[in-house]
C-alpha cells in the first residue's frame, strides 16, 4: 500500500492499518461498529416502545430546557435496542423539538452510543498510558487471539465485539477492561481474562 499526502502540511503518511488511509474517519467512528468506516450510516432500528417514550417524556420534565433530555433519551433508546438507530433518532428528535440531523450530530460526537447492532458482549480495553505501562497491549493481543476477532470487529457468532478505548479511570488497577457496563480490573496474569470470558454464556 502506498503512502499518501495528508492534508496536514504535505506529510507522507505510511499507514500500518488500511483504516488509516481513509484519514478523514475519526478512530472513534472507525472502531465503532462491526462494519468499520463504512458503518457511519446508522441502522434503521425499531420504533421505541411506549414505555421508553414515556420515560423520555419524564426526562424532558426534569430539565429547564427540553434539549437537555437528549443524552438521557439516547441512553433510554440504547438500553432498549442495544444501539440507537435512525428511527429512534427521529422519534427522539420529534419529542425534544430538534431536527433528526441535530440528533445524529450529537450521537456521532459521543463514543458510547452505538449506531448499529454489536455483539452481545462489548469488550472495551483501555490502552492509555497507565494501562499500557501495566501490560494492556498483551491483554489486547490475548483477547484478540482468544476470540479470533480484530479490533473493532465482532465474532461470527455475534457474541463479542472488541474495541480499544482511551482512559476509563481505572489506572490504579490496570490492566483492565470494560465488559458491557462493568469494569474488570487488575487483569494480570492473563489467566484472569480467560476465567472471565469463559464464565460468560
Amino acid at each position: 500500500m502506498s503512502g499518501r499526502k495528508a492534508g496536514t502540511g504535505g506529510l507522507t503518511v505510511i499507514p500500518e492499518n488500511p483504516r488509516e488511509i481513509r484519514g478523514m474517519v475519526p478512530e472513534s467512528i472507525a472502531l465503532r461498529g462491526p462494519a468499520g468506516p463504512e458503518g457511519i450510516e446508522p441502522d434503521e432500528g425499531k420504533s421505541l416502545s411506549a414505555a421508553s417514550l414515556a420515560e423520555i417524556d419524564r426526562l424532558i420534565d426534569i430539565y429547564p430546557e427540553r434539549r437537555s433530555a437528549l443524552l438521557p433519551a439516547l441512553w433510554v433508546a440504547q438500553r432498549e435496542q442495544g444501539f440507537v438507530g435512525r428511527r429512534p433518532m427521529e422519534e427522539i428528535a420529534a419529542k425534544i423539538g430538534v431536527s433528526p440531523a441535530f440528533v445524529a450530530s450529537v450521537v456521532s460526537f459521543y463514543t458510547m452510543y452505538q449506531i448499529r447492532p454489536i455483539g452481545k458482549y462489548l469488550i472495551q480495553i483501555c490502552t492509555s498510558l497507565a494501562c499500557y505501562l501495566r501490560g494492556s497491549d498483551a491483554l489486547v493481543d490475548h483477547v484478540r487471539k482468544k476470540l479470533g476477532v480484530d479490533l473493532g470487529g465482532t465474532t461470527r457468532d455475534g457474541r463479542f465485539t472488541l474495541v480499544r478505548v482511551e482512559c476509563l479511570g481505572s489506572c490504579g488497577t490496570a490492566p483492565m477492561l470494560q465488559l458491557n457496563d462493568d469494569y474488570h480490573e487488575n487483569l494480570s496474569p492473563l489467566s484472569k481474562v480467560d476465567e472471565l470470558l469463559d464464565s460468560l454464556e
Binding site: 441512553w75 490504579g172 462493568d182
Partner: protein
Amino acid sequence: MTEKILLRNVGTEGSTRLATYERNGGYQALRKALQTSPDALVEEVKKAGLRGRGGAGFPTGVKWGFMPKEPVRPSYLLVNADESEPGTFKDRLLMEEDPHLVLEGTLISAHAIRARTVFIYVRGEFLKPYLTMQAAVEEARAKGYVGRNILGSGVDCEVVMHRGAGAYICGEETALMESLEGKRGYPRLKPPFPAAAGVYGCPTTINNVETLANVPFIVERGAGWYLGIGREKNNGPKLYCMSGHLKRPGVYEAPLGTPLMTLVDDFAGGLWKESRKLKAIVPGGASAPVLTAEECRDVPMDFDALIARKSMLGSAGVMVMDESVCMVRALERILRFFAHESCGQCTPCRVGADWIHRIVKRIEAGHGKDGDCETLLSVCDNMIGKTICVFADAAALPAKSFVTKFRREFDEHIGAGRCTLPEA
C-alpha cells in the same frame, strides 16, 4: 501518617449508606451551613484558600464570589464528575465509596452560591459511580437533605443526576455546559464566564468532585484549621492518583506539597521491580509535562511548585515509568489520546493534535525522518494559546516536554529506524 480527611470513610463497612455517614458525623456541616449566610460561607472558603482540584487550581471561594448576590435568574451549580484525564481516578473513588460526602459538599456549595438546582454530570463510562451517587441522592432526599425547605431552613435545593456518553472534552467546564444542554461538547469562548452566562444562559459555577468534598470539612472545622494543612497558598488535603510502575498503585491522601518521591516510595511502595531505576514521571495526568528522574527529586506536589518546574499538578494523576519504558512509545500513547479526543472545533487543535500524533507514531514505527522533531515542536508552538479552550495546550505541552527532555531517544529512533532500548 497524618489524619485521613477526604478518605476517612473509604474502605469502611457500609460507607455508601446514609446511616453510616450520619453516624460518623455526616451532614452536621450542612446543618451548620444552612444557619450561615451564603456570603459568610464564601468568605470562609476564600479564607481557607481552597483551590479547585479539577486541574486548574483556581481559588474556589473567589469563583463562588463571582456569582450574583441578588440573582434575577436561576443560579446553577454543576458538579464536574466527568473525570477522564488519563491517570486520574480519584473522583471515581469518592463517588463509589463516599457519595454522601460529595453530596454534602455539593449541597453546602449550592447554598453558598444561591443555587436551587444542581446538576451532577458523571462521565458515561462511570455507571457504578453514577448509580451509587444516585442512590445517595435518593436516600438524602428521603431524609430531607435534598429538595424543598431542607431541614426546615427555608433553603431549597434540587439535585439532578446527568450521565455523559463518552467525550473527554466534556470535562472542560464550558463543554460540560454545552453537553448538559444536549449538544455536542464544544467549548465556549470566554468571556462571558459561566458566573455571568453559564448553562441556559444563567449564572453557573462548575466545581470538581474532590473540591466539593473539601467543603464540609472547612465549614465544620474552620478556615484556620484548613490553613494548617499543606504549604502556603497550597492548602488542604489532596488525593494523589498513583499509577504505572509502582508496587502499590492506587489513590492516596496526603497534604498538598507532599514531596513526589515520598508519594512514590512511602505511599505507593516504590517501583515495582527493584532491579530497575526510575526514568520519568508524569505528575498531573496526561496533560502535564513529564519530569525526568532527576527533576523528580525534591518536588513538592502542589500547584505552584509544579508551575515553577514548568509542569503542572493538574488532576494529580501521577504516572510512574521505569527505565524499561521507551519515551517515544509513551508519548505516542499520550498523543493518540489527544488526537482521538480533540473536539474538532478549532483548526490548530483538530489538525495539530492529529499531526503531532502522526509524527510520533511514524518515529515509533521506525519511519522517522530528519527534521521530524523540529516539525513537531513547530506544530506544538502553533497550537499553544491559539484555540478556544486549553485542550490544544494540553496536547502540545507534554509533547514538547518529552521531545526536549528525551531528545536523544527520539533522534536514536529516527537514526536507527527502530527502538534502541533493550527488550524489557
